[in-house]
Assembly symmetry: D2
Homo-oligomer: 377 residues x 4
């Protein structure tokens, strides 16, 4: 008999963006119901947001500490908490819930500093609860297809990885105005030392890792703040070298006019190449040497089971961002119910730490004039 | 305070396609919760399906008649029922619930015959309940944008409407095998007299009507069953003439290899043209005479409020088929809560009847060698 | 040893469009040199145009009659004449040269009336010279590829042919102004009874015939003059029925805002479908049932010899309109040098007559309220 | 009165690729006629090639030295020579003709070593003749449009330049076989030290320079020979820094499966972005902050005079690679006839030297582990 998991949320009150995304993602496949929350650090807004969302007033908390304690004490306490705060709060909130034995589903990047990330790992080691990081782009069916093709050798040994994630919304100094997203995302105290590199560069990096799985040897990064007065980078690009000899390029930018949320990855191997683009996510271009180019589609001919497994509607009925996000929630639900297995695709804390090392290495490399820098550890 | 509407469902048990779609659509924006069902005419499958979906066994019914009666009698009875059966059952089921005073959300086409459709209208007139038809493609944000642009005169007086809805899944005689979808959709007794014309042609027709709102004067249709032995048309195309002098072309096909679910509409007026394609639904091409072509995007610059109102995530984060469908459910929820208003966009029974007249006229025209035929009434 | 053919030209003086195209096409592959001309009916403009083009003054003629006579009399007279006048002059000019025993390369459509076309056939029968019609779009390599795939059965028996050729340059009544092209192309006395149907509809029709080769049984056409006061159709569309049971749709429009020269053809058979678009002519989409979609490219893998034979540069180096046109000239040169062979692809006078029958039938059908009409003969 | 310039050619005999391209380019706009040649270092092949091309036997030379001397001595000697040999011969051949006072039109890259390039500059200084380098991609109309938009400030101060030129034809070790192109292009003795960086990277670099005109401060390059045993790089990528603070990325690869001749450039400024792709060259994407994206087309609305000036046919009639190449020849013809002017767009020897410095700097940087390296001088 079907039983929804009980979900709490920290952050995501009125006016937030990513909280609503998590709530829809949790709901799409009916695996979770939202029953508790500390939705805002502002008590009034927290209560109003909870009421709007149908959370009983008794389970709308003024602070995440109180929530962790109270929910852990209830017989019908939450099975998991979603953390959708600004980055600098990920660590203390995750710590509180992990220590209370409650599973954590956390937005990316893992934390705002590498130190926090490493500390969180120690917390997690002593906890009975699981930690999941919502690198949602790895939930897209055609990303799964790409991963399967690369890992099964369809394109041969990988030679080149080209990934970019570019936007234009920070092309002008809008943080000077009232844009709430721009405000915290360009403030090092809340966002972390990285700007574009942390906000979207980590998504790009995780996507390469998710698809290829090749360990990075070193990177040579050049980070820039093109908008005058901006405190963090708004454009970051770098050369990559993998341990197996492959090379790569990663570019994250929030000052690329004409691009909305343009995450694109291309992978070239000895026998073939792949191209996927987030803004048209139901397609995957495949070029095998000596053959005509093919356009694989979600649900279409030539697209395999790993994609079909995370698909809801037939070919030609486009799925989008929310469905990809929902897949991450589904996989977390499955791991919560059945125990985490080695082949779980839900993103781990270790992958979150790798992402933090990536940000850290990119910033160090850039400060050292794009010197080759390893991710460390 | 937020309160979800209580939803029941008829049809949509294990193995069905469109039932699951309706359930996700109802859930995405948290407006409905599924609490009752007569999910299959097979009692065992009905019960198993209900259990899987978390419907309490006491509200899993063996027949829709029983369900209508029982739910109408409960204090906490359902606010609405979703009808997701094969077409020929739409009429009796809708009748039962409307007569029980329960709002109906029904999959398209309205019924399997024009007679049933007209009879249903009489039923609805005497009912206190509302009727909604889920022509989901009119829920896409960029379809709303197109509608707004056409109706506000942005492209001038409309001259030409070109719509096509083409698929390839019936290119071979698969109804001879075990494909459940192919089986009932090609059986006139369950699907109605039309094949492609009823299954997808009505979507195409509704889309033209939704966007342009111009009454059709007459059509000249040529319907074909290309696959030997097929009992209904698998390809239907026709010339259109509108009362205001505009002309058009509509093509529905299920034997067009290389096309998955390719619904595409183009509208040309005195000053500009528009193009929208369902398989890449977050874009709308706009060509204004004397200007460069523009690519409007959901959430992007130049796209207006009518689209934004039915949008969940920012530009560049693609929404898809399920979100468009969810918008239809949201509008039904709003109408159920607040009373149907003249500007409600939820599809009406009258539009369903227009769709049935369209199928009927197309079949009559084709039988008369593509003679010009009006929709009647 | 290489020897260029000697070419003359009638029409194509200063200010004309298509004359310059023919001259470049004749020159690209070095098969022709332009040595004579009656470039304008205005003597002064004729002489000035000839001087500009490097034609010796002694071979710049004041009239085509004089030119035909003089060139036929010379030992080093022209091998062929290109006719690039307005449509109504095609017949008398072609007649003069054919009667003088000089090969004719003529722009389309064949003539301005069907009577002229039939008369021209009689002239041609008694002439020793060859006649070539420059339906240039059949010169594109990927059109050749499509033809080869259809005719060799790659997509199975053809069921559906969808062709459109749409432009927007006549969306407003520009013939009222000084646009020379708009002026004669919308004047029935010079252009013929058809507007869009004759100017571009014939190209679309010829393309279907070139690729598929299926004889048309009948058509049901609806022609419209959307621009007030226009004397010819500016939009023409029609249902098609082929003798073998295939169906089709053809649309020609010059009032479709947002389209420049958008000739597009799709062909669907029992086993696969093809799509080609003139504005991006180096690609051909192929969809075979049960396989992923393929994108064939000029010179790329999977594209065969018939395309390679009419290709100049490697894959990825785009060829365009002029190269496709040049191929028609090359094939004419080959036929002139070596005699016309049964497998020559240069467009014949008979195909030109078929095109005139098509225009004639479309106009007759439209006048009879889109009655089914055969091409006759 | 029109008079064609007399052209000679060195290299480009039977079996060569680029020679035929130059000949068509020279012919398209009727500015040149080919009258002399030293088409091959193999005397027999030289004579046979000349005969095929209609070059009089008396002007088919066995060596370029002889040709330079003989043509300089003739009253009707050639106005210019096209050099289409492998790279290492550019220098001696160009030297011979410049010293003979004959204008030179030379394929890129300028030479095979930087030393040769600098020596050639000295030769050119003492010569009365002009030198033109055929960086043909700068002849495309929409590249001209991009240049005009960037230089006139339409996109604001440039921040980011992203260029890539990728192919797949060297993904496997085909130089081991009989491929003539692969053979010399991967041989350092004939091609120069650079592989992909010299063959196509220089095109990419020149395109950035042509459009933006910003001087490069330094680059950090990583060159790779992915194919075992290959003597030159087959993949080269690098970070760029411009003197004005802009940043960039350049990637040249011949081992990117699925790409034929995929040269693509994107430029982002403070107010807008541009994107152009060689394989679909008649389009230019423009994204201005706060406006919908626009698709400019060759000849279309919003595309200006600088593009129109190098255009032959109307919008929607695609021009391609050969037409872009022809524009370079036209501009050379104009400079030869009227004297080179400061605003001539024909590519200069100095730009060729810049290209050689680019190759040289990239190789030096890569050998020094991608150390930041300036172009020098």
């Amino acid at each position: 008999m079907h039983r929804r998991l009980k979900l709490g949320m920290v952050g995501g009150g009125q006016g937030a963006f990513i909280g609503a995304v998590h709530r829809i993602a949790a709901r799409i496949d009916d695996q979770f119901e939202l029953v508790a929350g500390a939705l805002s650090s502002n008590a009034e807004r927290a209560a109003a947001s909870a009421a709007e969302l149908g959370i009983d007033a008794s389970r709308s908390y003024a602070s995440y500490e109180e929530m962790a304690k109270a929910e852990a004490a209830r017989d019908d306490g939450i099975d998991a908490v979603s953390i959708v705060t600004p980055n600098h709060m990920h660590y203390p909130v995750a710590k509180a819930f992990l220590e209370a034995g409650i599973n954590v589903i956390c937005d990316k990047p893992l934390t705002s500093t590498l130190d926090d990330a490493l500390a969180l790992r120690e917390v997690a080691k002593s906890s009975s609860a699981e930690f999941f990081l919502t690198h949602n782009y790895s939930g897209y069916p055609m990303v799964r297809q790409a991963r399967d093709m690369v890992r099964s050798g369809k394109i041969g040994k990988v030679r080149k990885v080209q990934v970019e994630y570019i936007q234009d919304w920070l092309s002008a100094p809008i943080e000077a105005g009232a844009n709430k997203q721009a405000d915290w995302r360009t403030d090092p105290a809340r966002s972390g030392l990285g700007g574009a590199i942390g906000d979207i560069g980590t998504h790009a990096f995780q996507l390469t890792d998710f698809i290829c799985g090749e360990p990075l040897k070193e990177l040579a990064a050049d980070l820039t703040s093109f908008v005058e007065g901006r405190l963090v980078d708004d454009d970051a690009h770098m050369l990559l070298r993998y341990k197996n000899g492959a090379k790569g390029y990663l570019w994250a930018s929030q000052v690329a006019p004409g691009h909305e949320n343009d995450l694109r990855i291309r992978i070239y191997g000895e026998r073939g190449g792949l191209e996927w683009r987030q803004e048209n996510p139901n397609q995957l271009w495949v070029g095998i040497l000596g053959e005509p180019k093919q356009l694989l589609t979600r649900g279409g001919h030539g697209t395999g089971e790993v994609a079909a497994n995370v698909t809801r509607v037939p070919a030609g009925h486009p799925e989008g961002y929310l469905e990809g996000f929902a897949t991450i929630y589904n996989e977390a639900a499955d791991a919560i119910r059945n125990g985490r297995k080695s082949d779980s695709l839900s993103v781990t804390l270790d992958e979150g730490i790798l992402g933090m090392r990536f940000i850290d290495a990119a910033i160090r490399s850039s400060k050292a004039n794009a010197q080759w820098t390893s991710l460390g550890a």
